[in-house]
Symmetry: C2
Subunit: 387 residues, 2 copies
């Protein structure tokens, strides 16, 4: 059930001769054009309001139920909005060409040098294409189908199809990974800097199966993956085979095992038993973006970090995603947390382009440096916070 919304913006010189708040004929001509956006014959506006010092607002309606507004700001901005219902599969009553032609005519009337036409905004569409980035920028995806949606006990799970990115997993409407996004998996595995052959690896989360599959291409001694949500695994096996391939068709192989469990009690058990790993790959949710490092999310993050360091061999490495590159404060807060761990650590970070994310993403590699805590130092890349 979609409504198409057209937005047009025009900037004019408020002190110039072509100010619609002063030139009444100009204003009438503009009203005609906006009216014609939503109906074939021009008509008087439904209502016209002077907003005093704040300019004016006119509202137009058409017999088919479309409506439009014309807003003039005395500072030199004129906005036009039109909204119309378009039934699924039908052509809109207002075409993009008609909107472009109206834009041109209004620009000429106003003699304005800056105008703007937005792509139609789709409202209430069967397939919602808008997913903001971590830094709250508006992004329209090319989704043409929601191929799977379910609410598990833990989260809302959606898999959208994108012609360019393939199927894409969203958890609670947050982009997780698309079939185009091998760059993510490679980054969280060190982008070729690590040799996993003969090593033991613990994956926290990773339900899409990308990390497990990539690791299986090498010859790790053992991989254990702790994913809490069976529904995510089921959906990935069916709809994200470009990510997990056949790696979760069986949850246990000769050198790997997927445990469908909450990672916290398992980590506690490993700590108790003294089980340790060469690598811990944290593919849980992104670091929180709250303004202070307090609250449930940060408590969870610190708990995971502390447990992870305890099950990480002294020579081991911990990899994790961070957040969007523009989330500077959140990233800085995360790095602040690293200084407060019980075991002294150092880290490097890397900024990577993950195709379906529409924003650059930061990944961390963390290792222990304090021999006094039973940790060995590492010399490679050991400059604090080097990129």
């Amino acid at each position: 059930m979609p409504a198409l919304h057209t937005l047009l913006d025009f900037q004019f010189e408020p002190g110039g001769t072509k100010n619609p708040l002063i030139d009444q004929q100009l204003y009438r001509d503009l009203c005609d054009l906006v009216s014609q956006l939503v109906q074939n014959s021009s008509a008087a506006p439904l209502s016209s309001v002077s907003l005093g010092d704040a300019g004016s607002l006119d509202v137009f309606t058409a017999e088919n139920g479309s409506h439009a507004t014309l807003r003039v700001y005395p500072q030199g901005l004129l906005t036009v909005d039109a909204e119309m219902w378009v039934a699924e599969g039908e052509q809109p009553a207002i075409t993009a060409e008609h909107v472009a032609s109206t834009q041109k005519k209004i620009s000429e009337l106003l003699g304005c040098n800056k105008s703007k036409r937005f792509p139609f905004i789709k409202r209430g569409a069967r397939v919602d294409p808008y997913v903001p980035t971590a830094d709250n920028k508006l992004i329209e995806y090319d989704f043409d189908e929601c191929v799977y949606e379910a609410d598990s006990p833990y989260q809302n799970i959606k898999i959208m199809h994108s012609p360019q990115f393939g199927n894409m997993l969203l958890l609670d409407n947050d982009p997780n990974l698309a079939e185009s996004d091998l760059a993510y998996t490679r980054a969280i595995l060190g982008n070729g800097r690590e040799d996993f052959s003969g090593k033991s690896v613990l994956i926290l989360g990773g339900g899409d199966g990308g990390i497990l599959h990539e690791l299986r291409q090498g010859s790790p001694k053992s991989v254990i993956m702790l994913e809490i949500d069976q529904l995510v695994i089921n959906a990935a096996v069916k709809y994200l085979r470009g990510i997990c391939h056949d790696s979760m068709d069986q949850l246990k192989g000769h050198n790997y095992e997927v445990l469908v469990e909450d990672c916290i009690p398992v980590l506690e058990k490993y700590v108790r038993e003294g089980t340790m790993f060469d690598y811990v790959i944290n593919d849980l949710t992104a670091i929180p973006i709250s303004t202070q490092p307090v609250g449930d999310s940060w408590d969870f993050l610190r708990k995971i970090l502390d447990f992870s360091m305890q099950v990480l061999k002294p020579t081991g490495r911990y990899y994790t995603q961070g957040n969007g590159a523009n989330m500077v404060d959140a990233l800085r807060m995360y790095e602040g947390q690293l200084e407060k761990l019980s075991c002294k650590v150092d880290f490097s970070k890397e900024t990577v382009c993950v195709p379906s994310y529409h924003e650059l993403w930061v990944f961390y590699c963390i290792w222990k440096v304090d021999a006094a805590n039973g940790c060995e130092g590492k010399d490679a890349q050991a400059t604090n916070g080097s990129t």
Copy 2:
């Protein structure tokens, strides 16, 4: 001079008990909430219209000049819009938190399971953040400054600053290249599959200097670059040093030369003189997206292709960008043109993620196959249209 525009969408069961077109008290409560979006005290709407079978429209204005609309579609969609003026550097009267709280209250009133809040749309902002993709998707960039703008005899040139992508060149508002986009330059140079050492290379366009700089890192025998627009070069040298580095500080070096010229007459001269190259890299505009391969753009494209094939050695390779991966029809039309060249050619293509583009991009490698036309066949990658 920005106006902030809020969009909220709600989907309800038209046949359910909570249909605002039937329940008058519900409708009044909704009006109160929308009114409160733009002013502190609730107020009667400026005007309320029944649109008959098409639902209803209410318009609200506040003393500060903000306005809002509440639109109900009988198919089960309710849209709320609010627009307010925010002077540069000031805080908006309506905060994102207030909008989120209104969204929650309306959702509860309607008992609706699907609602949507868009990031604020910035209208008439000093720095316009919206640039659509080739497939006309709405993308909000993180631009914080326009660092350069000029109109040359050929085009509008803009360089925008993005915190994550660095400075970014737009020609006629079309994204060209950002300092983050080495992936583009590598792709149009064959992603490491070519060895340019000792070879002669002709670049068509390439005013940002990225291709020239990348080639200079190898040891080509000679590079000639034909860029028509001196202003683009000047702007790149000053503001896109992450792309061109020092490669255009001097327009001539021991093995390269930048000619500020229209490429067509120079190509004609090369054809006349029999000058030939090992590589031609076409970094001119993207292939056109018109629905038929006719018109000035396609004529230009065919002319460039024909001249390029004539100055390409029989063993040479021609690289070019194509268009967005979703522009399937345009890409297919381009490939159709390749079959009609005077010299028989084959091609391969590659889809690449260029960080600042927000869409995957297709690159072509083309080579001559018909020995009868003085061309030699090539066996590598010679399957027609292989990706």
